[in-house]
């Protein structure tokens, strides 16, 4: 069992205090009326290219990503590198789709994907399905950010024994998060993201230079790895094996990413469509860092941290997620460990804040205002959203404290399968109103059902062993369920159109999308 590292802990706490101050100060940054939902929940849609870069970067590349992707590399090897093509492919989608979505949302005051679908298709039930999917997919994601904090706090030597004292740092971090999100809204994570990203870039670049030097160079590192982990397994004769799995994981994850409510919240807070397009070219900077951090998982494997006695307790408690923290403690002096862990810990607060804001926006706009209180004033709306952002976080915290984090991991996996089912209504809806709203709803339901079944039948792993005519095409369950969803929607569209002669409702016009 490691003892508490006081130097690292002091630096960690100091950085946390600084961002706490920053989070509260943010309420006064580009001051707006925080009793308006678009001010609290979208920062007034006033963030330019640079702040959007920090905010969306801090939003998409989460603490969980920085812990889990290297952990996958540590455990499974090359397949974890799918995170790189995944985060390459998100940017063409960002460039082509989201300036249009931004424009129509700005024009009509939409704050959520549910708002857009409600306006575009005029079907409150379809909008409800889209909104509920968003909320359900987001909750385990918030829980996993808290897991990220737990792992680094454990790495500092605190809370190894578990119990209430062990959970105390997490509770404190949680209270900080809840308080500044409530008071400052989206401005808080936007300002904190600047600090977090500087810390992450510094950490990643130093780690990728220093650690290979210590380990005797890249050649030695890769030679020390088990051969099976260096590359993808060559597929057998009658299957695309690991190749189709790798490609569909990358493509499916890329298609799903911007459908998550927190991604949309980040993007809608940009000040113009041009700021979004510019970011499509600038955000790959983070993909590069994610690639470097993924390599850290392999470095940890080569360094042999798993068998070092001082890390036995950490690995026992956190599994492969402990690989990167252990590697840092093994390779760096305490002060650097403090900075690196703060980067991850602060990195958890940014997306957790945005996710809770996004879920709160969805509940307030598409459930509360649509089904509970139709005549809510702007002030009631903003108040409800602030309250819900708290409830959502308490739920995530309870999840982590009282249930196994493993459930959060599995639910997050299912969340990816579910959120991608909103693609036909949201992403295609940006380009066309030709798909029938009820056909979209049926397609969504079938995609949800079959996707969930695929994930469970593959024992809650992401790769479903699809086989067509004896030829194996193992692939990402979310991707295959999406294809089914699209086919159902397209086939049923003329059927439903023929059944109902009602005039198509669409409160948006073509010019709204530019």
């Amino acid at each position: 069992m490691q003892s508490i590292d006081w130097v690292a802990t002091t630096i960690f706490v100091a950085l946390f205090l600084f961002i706490t101050w920053l989070g509260f100060w943010a309420a006064r940054w580009r001051r707006g009326d925080l009793d308006q939902l678009h001010e609290w929940g979208l920062g007034g849609r006033r963030f330019g290219t640079l702040i959007t870069w920090f905010l969306v970067g801090g939003d998409l590349y989460t603490a969980y990503t920085f812990i889990a992707v290297p952990a996958l590399a540590f455990g499974a090897g090359a397949v974890a590198f799918y995170a790189v093509p995944y985060t390459i492919l998100i940017y063409p989608i960002l460039f082509l789709v989201f300036p249009r979505l931004w424009a129509v949302c700005k024009k009509h005051g939409y704050i959520t994907a549910g708002d857009f679908v409600r306006g575009r298709f005029g079907n409150r039930w379809l909008a409800l399905a889209i909104s509920l999917t968003g909320i359900v997919a987001t909750l385990p994601y918030i829980a996993l950010q808290l897991v990220g904090i737990q792992v680094v706090v454990g790495g500092l030597g605190i809370g190894g024994g578990g119990g209430l004292i062990g959970d105390l740092p997490l509770l404190v971090a949680f209270l900080i998060l809840a308080a500044f999100t409530y008071s400052s809204g989206l401005r808080a994570p936007a300002s904190i993201a600047v600090v977090k990203d500087i810390l992450i870039y510094f950490t990643a670049i130093v780690a990728v230079i220093v650690i290979p030097t210590q380990l005797g160079g890249f050649g030695k590192i890769f030679a020390a790895l088990p051969t099976a982990k260096v590359l993808l397994a060559t597929p057998p004769a009658n299957s695309w094996g690991s190749f189709s799995a790798y490609a569909t994981l990358a493509l499916g994850s890329a298609l799903a990413l911007f459908l998550y409510p927190h991604s949309l919240t980040g993007i809608l807070s940009a000040s113009s469509g041009g700021a979004i397009r510019r970011n499509a070219a600038l955000l790959p900077g983070y993909s590069f860092v994610l690639g470097l951090l993924t390599l850290l998982g392999l470095f940890a494997l080569a360094a042999g941290v798993a068998t070092m006695p001082q890390f036995a307790q950490g690995f026992k408690q956190y599994g492969a997620s402990f690989a990167v923290p252990a590697l840092f403690i093994h390779s760096f002096p305490s002060w650097f460990v403090g900075i690196a862990f703060a980067a991850i810990g602060v990195g958890a607060l940014v997306p957790a804040a945005i996710m809770s804001i996004a879920a709160a926006n969805l509940y307030t706009r598409n459930i509360y205002r649509e089904f509970v209180n139709k005549n809510a004033t702007d002030k009631q709306e903003a108040k409800m959203a602030k309250l819900v952002s708290l409830i959502v976080k308490v739920g995530a915290l309870a999840f982590i404290l009282f249930l196994s984090p493993q459930y959060a991991v599995e639910l997050q996996l299912l969340g990816g399968v579910w959120i991608i089912q909103t693609l036909p209504a949201v992403l295609l809806g940006v380009f066309t109103r030709k798909l029938n709203d009820w056909a979209l709803l049926v397609g969504w339901a079938i995609g949800m059902g079959v996707g969930t079944w695929m994930a469970f039948s593959a024992n809650l792993s992401s790769t479903f062993p699809l086989s067509i005519g004896g030829f194996g095409l193992p692939g990402y369950a979310a991707f295959y369920a999406l294809i089914l969803n699209l086919v159902v929607t397209i086939v049923l569209t003329p059927v439903f159109n023929a059944m109902s002669k009602k005039v198509v409702f669409d409160e948006t016009v073509a010019a709204d999308y530019h």
Partner: protein
């Protein structure tokens, strides 16, 4: 620079560059090898990191080419 005065309607042939990005990464059979390695890093890894940079450049090209 404000997005509002930018003229962007419909299809542009420059978007085909995005298709190139998909082709570069979606066929892992093309790059699933150790050699040629770069300063000890297997091709599989440095190739994909290189594509991150290529993709960023391609996106920038599309941005400037379709700006007006």
């Amino acid at each position: 620079m404000d997005g509002s005065n930018e003229e962007r309607r419909g299809w542009s042939w420059w978007y085909l560059l995005f298709g190139l990005e998909f082709l570069l990464v979606l066929f892992p059979g093309l790059y699933n090898s150790v050699e040629p390695s770069l300063i000890g890093i297997p091709f599989f890894y440095w190739y994909q990191l290189l594509v991150v940079l290529i993709a960023a450049v391609l996106t920038a090209v599309v941005y400037f080419a379709t700006k007006n």
